[in-house]
């Protein structure tokens, strides 16, 4: 119990002192997960909208693949990317292994199915006749898509929250492809693993508290945005 209390106090101390090592780790965590979220949103939102709106041959299979992807084991993703980026791998020449780029790739792959799946469900939940109504009111296809996206904003924000929550707290894949190299690829989750192994439980808990605080702040921000976009609130 004292380790928790000590960890909590140490977290406050670390944050208050703007510890440069900690700030570097926090910055890299946000940069990696933030970049992965932006890329997966840029790819996942249009894909989710298309899956939610269109019926086509093979859609059922694609949806099943998306749902499977929502439960992808991070270590398997990490291992796959490791093999692809390793010196002998097909993408070895890029030299991205043990760099933040490799970490962004794995986190993008992990967040993408979540964003596609949640967006698809949110868009598909709109009444089927709504698209016809918007078209009949003179909206172009592009305007219809933006209106439906706005209508499904609660679900879309949930998709972003789910995607960010999954990757900021993920450790297996970033450990494999990043290597937890100090001042290069060390992020909050890999630091927690390292400090736990070293027996620095208070520091590990402190880092955990900071990770939780970041996740909470990000979710709070998105929920606040969700509330502002809802005319009922």
């Amino acid at each position: 119990m004292s380790a928790f209390l000590e960890g909590f106090l140490q977290a406050i101390q670390l944050i208050a002192s703007f510890d440069p090592d900690l700030m570097e780790i926090v910055r890299l965590s946000l940069l990696v997960s933030g970049s992965a979220l932006v890329i997966s949103a840029a790819l996942g939102l249009p894909a989710g909208i298309a899956l939610g709106l269109k019926d086509f041959r093979g859609k059922r299979l694609l949806v099943a693949l998306v749902y499977t992807g929502m439960g992808l084991p991070p270590v398997v993703v990490g291992l796959t990317i490791y093999i692809l980026l390793s010196r002998q791998g097909p993408l070895g020449e890029l030299g991205w292994l043990f760099t933040p780029r490799a970490m962004v790739i794995t986190q993008t792959i992990l967040a993408l199915p979540l964003i596609i799946g949640f967006t698809m469900t949110a868009i598909a939940a709109a009444p089927p006749a709504l698209s016809l109504q918007l078209r009949s009111l003179g909206a172009t296809q592009r305007q219809i898509v933006f209106t439906l996206l706005y209508e499904a904003r609660a679900g879309v924000l949930a998709a972003l929250i789910a995607g960010f929550g999954a990757i900021i707290s993920e450790v297996g894949s970033v450990m494999i492809v990043g290597g937890n190299i100090e001042h290069k690829t060390r992020v909050l989750t890999t630091s927690i693993v390292l400090e736990t192994r070293r027996g620095n439980f208070a520091l590990a808990i402190a880092l955990g508290v900071i990770l939780l605080a970041i996740t909470f702040s990000a979710n709070w921000l998105l929920l606040h945005l969700q509330g502002r976009l809802d005319p009922r609130q």
């Binding site: 006749a129 016809l132 109504q133 918007l134 009949s136 009111l137 003179g138 172009t140 305007q143 005319p231």
Partner: protein, 244 residues
């Protein structure tokens, strides 16, 4: 018979869902300035007919002619599409305020100064006092009136109404019928009304058609349709004896 000034014409229309023929209309013309009612039992194909007329669905065969040319949903220029609109049976309002819902069609047209038009449309449907309220909090009748205001504010040349008063109380039905009549007389909208309520068709329409099992059985001026129906199925439908 077709007239050169018909605003909308359907020619040799056949529409299928899979192998099933749901609509077969050899010819049908809508004249400018009229209220044309299509009556018929549920499942007769009335809503499908309306979707074809509003270019929301492409007929399997045949032509829909608007402003003298045959178009499909894909080929209809946006400027012509924006001359017509549909009010569906379900109001299908956006999760926004009443005023923003009414403004939707104006916004997609890029109109910036529509405030007075929005206010006027809301006054016409007697909902100006609810302009800033969330559309999700409205009753069924209010929501349908907002849906009507959203159409009226566009001053459509052609207004399609798909069972606009189904499941509404008599007060709202009366009010909506008044609004439709005014849209026709004061705003000059040509109205195509689809309803299974024959009395509503009699109160509002200049001409009425019976659609039964996907086919137009009879089209006539309202008085003739109700007082001297030519087809035995029309007589049966009007007397409530048509079994379907």
């Amino acid at each position: 018979m077709f007239f050169s000034d018909d605003i909308l014409r359907l020619e040799a229309i056949e529409h299928r869902y899979g192998a099933r023929v749901v609509l077969r209309v050899p010819e049908l013309a809508i004249r400018p300035g009229e209220i044309f009612a299509v009556v018929g039992p549920s499942g007769a194909g009335k809503s499908t007919l309306l979707r074809l007329m509003n270019f929301l669905e492409k007929p399997t065969r045949g032509r829909v002619i608007y402003h003298g040319r045959a178009w499909t949903p894909g080929s209809l220029p946006i400027a012509l599409r924006r001359k017509m609109t549909t009010v569906f049976q379900q109001p299908l309002l956006l999760n926004a305020s009443v005023a923003r819902n009414v403004a939707y069609g104006l916004r997609v047209r890029g109109a910036r100064n529509g405030k007075s038009d929005i206010r006027q449309a809301l006054e016409e449907v007697r909902l100006a006092h609810l302009a800033e309220q969330s559309a999700q909090t409205l009753s069924g009748g209010e929501a349908q009136r907002v849906s009507l205001a959203r159409a009226l504010v566009l001053n459509p040349e052609l207004l399609f109404l798909d069972e606009p008063t189904a499941n509404l109380d008599p007060g709202n039905v009366k009010l909506i019928e008044e609004i439709v009549r005014r849209a026709n007389q004061e705003r000059g909208a040509t109205v195509v009304l689809v309803t299974h309520n024959v009395w509503q068709a009699r109160r509002l329409a200049h001409r009425v058609a019976l659609l039964y099992e996907g086919e137009i059985i009879e089209t006539a001026p309202t008085r003739d349709f109700f007082e001297h129906p030519q087809d035995p199925r029309t007589r049966a439908f009007l007397s409530g004896d048509l079994v379907y």
